[in-house]
């Protein structure tokens, strides 16, 4: 058992310098775009706390392949096994954690929580060395043995999990066995079973091979060698127990032949047993091989029923919505620590899980604005420009007044943020200067106007007609004309659909924003707005709507 408080990594794979203070966190979900280093973090934890006496490293494991700078991985642990905190082990090497500041000190105080810092160093000789270290000048670091590292119970569920079904040393099944009965000599159980098996094989007659053997016996005799006692059986030498050939089977089929998802679940099941004693479970891409509901169930179970510490990585929105903001840690390429999330984003996770996997978030005031952005994306694609997903941009629904909070929280979590909003609510307008100050881009309407104002003011009549036709195709002509008529002051012309007047534009606008009966407050309707607006940009040159669209497009291009 043990839990990680602070993790430092230098020159390991894609991470040149990394340091993160997880604090007293039992569940860590790492997110980040591909190649940002999520898996590397899990591998680093697995290496620094590895129960193996040796690990194989290659030149390519060094950052940029530069072997001149050693790989260094440092984990500061709490909740440690008492057996390690003895004088004769590493007790004299402990450090103290001040919970109120989350800082680790070398000068121990009464209120401190005991910390051991384990450091793995791999230099150009590729030979890993594990130490217990601290910063007290009077003490030198001491090596920590593999068997002691094994008591941390750290296991990585990755693609190569077949070994998790075998009983050999260093595997989770073996650790469980050890946990069951400390007094008995553990390896013997396995070896004895194996010897029994060999005895059975020895007793088997390999009679079908006898004729060949007999020929050899005679031939040997001729040459003067007596091998008359020769029989055939198995050579123990080639059946090393260490390579873990004794493993779990379903009837006679080994578990390693099961499906990917089931294998992962079984492997996790074995390891959660261990985590009950307080181990560290590392799961790369938790959703792999699992249906969304199984992935969600797994994440939920690990989060609520585990006594140890769990690190997962995920690309799945389904997994994300099961978690709380404080469980999520975001890694961004080139950043030396992880971003955390404010609890104010909690609702946002539920409504916009996808946004969390992007690099750049376009926070939209509501579904209409999201739709417009989608339309803009469609238009960009049709013009041969790069799509938003390629550019790492994701649209998030700001849910009206929440948009300010969301934009701020995303910004603080290290995303590039653009806010796309109306300017018809005073409170929202008042918050904008503060957002600009922290580097958030704002694309908004003219003062006291909403996007719908601009639409009906700036679109050429053809565009407006397309909008009306779309609405009519949804609701029928009568419904649409009635709703406009009710807002029209004066006598409603019969050929209203061709009357490009300010009065008519105003009436259509008023009709389109009637409370409870808004025309465009749905992403798909918004998308139509976007499509139509973009199709008419040529004729709107210099108008606000055109300006808004080109500003959005520029931001998407990262201009």
């Amino acid at each position: 058992m043990a839990k990680i408080h602070t993790l430092k990594i230098s020159n390991f794979k894609g991470l040149e310098k990394f340091e993160h203070v997880f604090g007293m966190t039992d569940f860590v979900c790492l997110i980040g775009r591909g190649d940002s280093g999520k898996t590397t973090i899990l591998e680093a934890i697995s290496a620094v706390l590895s129960p193996n006496w040796n690990l194989t490293f290659y030149d390519t494991d060094f950052f940029n392949g530069n072997i001149a700078n050693p790989i260094e991985i440092e984990a500061s642990l709490y909740d440690l096994p008492a057996t390690l905190i003895q004088e004769s082990k590493y007790g004299l090497f402990i450090r103290g954690l001040d919970i109120s500041t989350n800082l680790i000190h070398d000068d121990i105080e009464d209120s401190h929580v005991t910390i051991l810092t384990i450091k793995l160093i791999v230099d150009k000789n590729l030979e890993p060395k594990w130490f217990v270290i601290n910063d007290r000048v009077s003490q030198q670091s001491i090596e920590i043995r593999a068997s002691d590292r094994a008591s941390f119970n750290v296991f990585l569920v990755s693609d190569y999990i077949d070994r998790h079904f075998s009983w050999s040393k260093g595997n989770p099944l073996y650790s469980l066995l050890k946990g069951e009965d400390i007094s008995s000599d553990k390896t013997n159980i396995i070896i004895d079973a194996f010897r029994e098996a060999k005895e059975k094989i020895d007793a088997t007659s390999f009679s079908h091979l006898d004729s060949v053997i007999d020929k050899i016996k005679i031939s040997a005799q001729t040459l003067g060698v007596d091998i008359s006692n020769t029989n055939t059986t198995i050579d123990f030498k080639d059946i090393s127990i260490k390579d873990g050939r004794i493993c779990l089977h379903e009837n006679t089929v080994p578990f390693r032949q099961k499906g990917k998802g089931s294998k992962r679940l079984i492997s996790i099941a074995i390891q959660t047993e261990l985590a009950k004693e307080g181990g560290i479970l590392l799961i790369d891409e938790i959703e792999q091989g699992l249906e969304p509901d199984r992935a969600q169930h797994l994440a939920r179970t690990l989060k609520t029923q585990n006594k140890g510490q769990v690190f997962i990585t995920t690309h799945s929105r389904d997994v994300l919505v099961e978690l709380t903001a404080k469980d999520i840690f975001r890694i961004k390429k080139g950043n030396s620590n992880l971003f955390t999330f404010e609890s104010s984003l909690q609702a946002c996770i539920r409504s916009n899980p996808e946004a969390f996997f992007s690099d750049r978030v376009l926070v939209c005031e509501g579904p209409t604005e999201i739709g417009i952005c989608r339309g803009l994306n469609n238009f960009r694609i049709s013009k041969g420009k790069l799509n938003v997903s390629f550019l790492g941009v994701r649209f998030a629904n700001g849910n009206g007044s929440n948009q300010i909070e969301y934009a701020k929280a995303f910004k603080e979590s290290g995303y590039e943020v653009c806010l796309f909003c109306d300017s018809d609510v005073a409170a929202v307008n008042d918050s904008k200067p503060a957002l600009l100050e922290i580097g958030i881009n704002i694309v908004d309407c003219e003062l006291n106007k909403s996007i719908e104002n601009h639409l009906f003011e700036d679109l050429p009549w053809n565009g407006i007609k397309s909008l009306l036709e779309y609405r009519i195709s949804e609701k029928g002509e009568e419904n649409v004309s009635d709703s406009i008529k009710s807002k029209y002051s004066g006598i409603f012309p019969t050929d209203w659909i061709n009357q490009d007047t300010d009065l008519m534009r105003k009436a259509i606008y008023d009709a389109s924003v009637t409370k409870k009966n808004e025309w465009f407050k749905r992403t798909d309707h918004g998308e139509k707005l976007g499509d139509i607006s973009c199709a008419n940009t040529e004729e709107m040159k210099g108008k606000k709507l055109d300006l808004i669209l080109s500003k959005l497009s520029n931001w998407i291009d990262n201009a």
Partner: protein, 475 residues
Amino acid sequence: MLNHLEFSSKDKSMLIAPAGYGKTHTIAECLKTINSKQLILTHTHAGVASIKEKIKKEGIPNSCFEVETISSFAQKYVLAFYTGNDLPSQDDKKLYHPFIIEKANDLFKLKPIRQIITNSYNGLFIDEYQDCTVSQHNLLLLLSELFPTHILGDFLQGIFGFNGEQLVDLNDELAMKGFIDSKYELDKPQRWLNGNNAKLGSDLKSIREDLISKKEVDLNKYTSIELKLITELDLFNASKDYYKQISKLLDEENVLILHPDSTSIHSRLKIIQTFNNRFTLLESIDAKEFYSLSKEADLLTKENIRLKLIELCYKLFNKTGVDIWFNNKGFKSKTKTEDKEKLKPLAILFNSLEENLSFKNLAKLLKSIKELTGVKCYRKELFSTFCKALEDAEIQSISVLESMNNKRNMTRRIGRKIYGRCIGTTLLTKGLEFDTVAILNAHKFECPKHLYVAMTRASKRLIIFTDKPILSPYK
């Protein structure tokens, strides 16, 4: 008869045991009744060694106990955790040890540190408790809050005062609170039963009573003790009886000569010289020469080695012996071919040191010098430890002083065995027993505790050299 189970199952208990009544044996017996790791603390390194040996004899597995001196136990924690930079130098005994105890006192109050101790041990035994200074006592009280603690001691043997610091009073109800309520006593002089000298055992019991009630000790009354009336100076005169008696004793395998003067080793060195290096000087673990020699070695350069080597030799060997082979320019030129041959390899080594100063080669050279005719080493432990420190300093690329500190700390940790023919003082031999003990100039003892400790070191034969048969060690 002491009930070991009862004694060791108390949360706090204390055992009063006169010397030789089986105190160490009691610890071993108690360990048998407890099935978990116990910490055993005592004061001297000799004590550590003797406890380890007795426990081992009883077949108790190593995993069940750890024996250390109070100082080294405290030092272990202070060296690990103290982050200040005002730690006194280890050779400054007067400052170093009280500093260690004081800082350990701070450390042992901290929860994370207490956790290490309780993770490591389930109980505590403290031997020779009467030798605890008040500050050690306070430190040990902190430990006694952590697990069952059993103390053993005898107020009549409280001689181990440090820098004249006040010792704890085992009979003080307030200081010994908790312990004094579960007080046990041993009453059988075990050391002298079992085929040894039973009469000596009962005589020492009577003398103990004399000393407690501050009466004069009339040695004529105690027939088991060999009384030799002597004149002090006769010891250095080979024709006198005093000298002859001691000389004869040196034929025995296991004999301890005790000298009443424990303040200076000079008088003991003089006796060793007189008896031609036939016995071993017991060194104090903190004898300052171990450190001063190392410091000098650290100042050596290839330029000054020619001058300094002879100074080193004077400190390690007898002057007469050194002067046979050296003058202030280095080795003397010898006329005899035999001597020339002997010096040849030494000269080569010496020259190599002037080209490239190597501690390893210096140790080699010193060892060769020791073998030269006429050269005598009176402080064998000092010599061998110094040579090892030199060698390790080179291997580990550290200073000789650092290397010496390591060596002395190692001895502190693992204790040392003492056997053969030795000369020492009560302070250096407390807790040890020898078949034969000869006390020199017993009339010089000024403290009943020292005299009692001296007499009780003998298990079979006790010889007392004194200028009068009635001793009155009360000053």
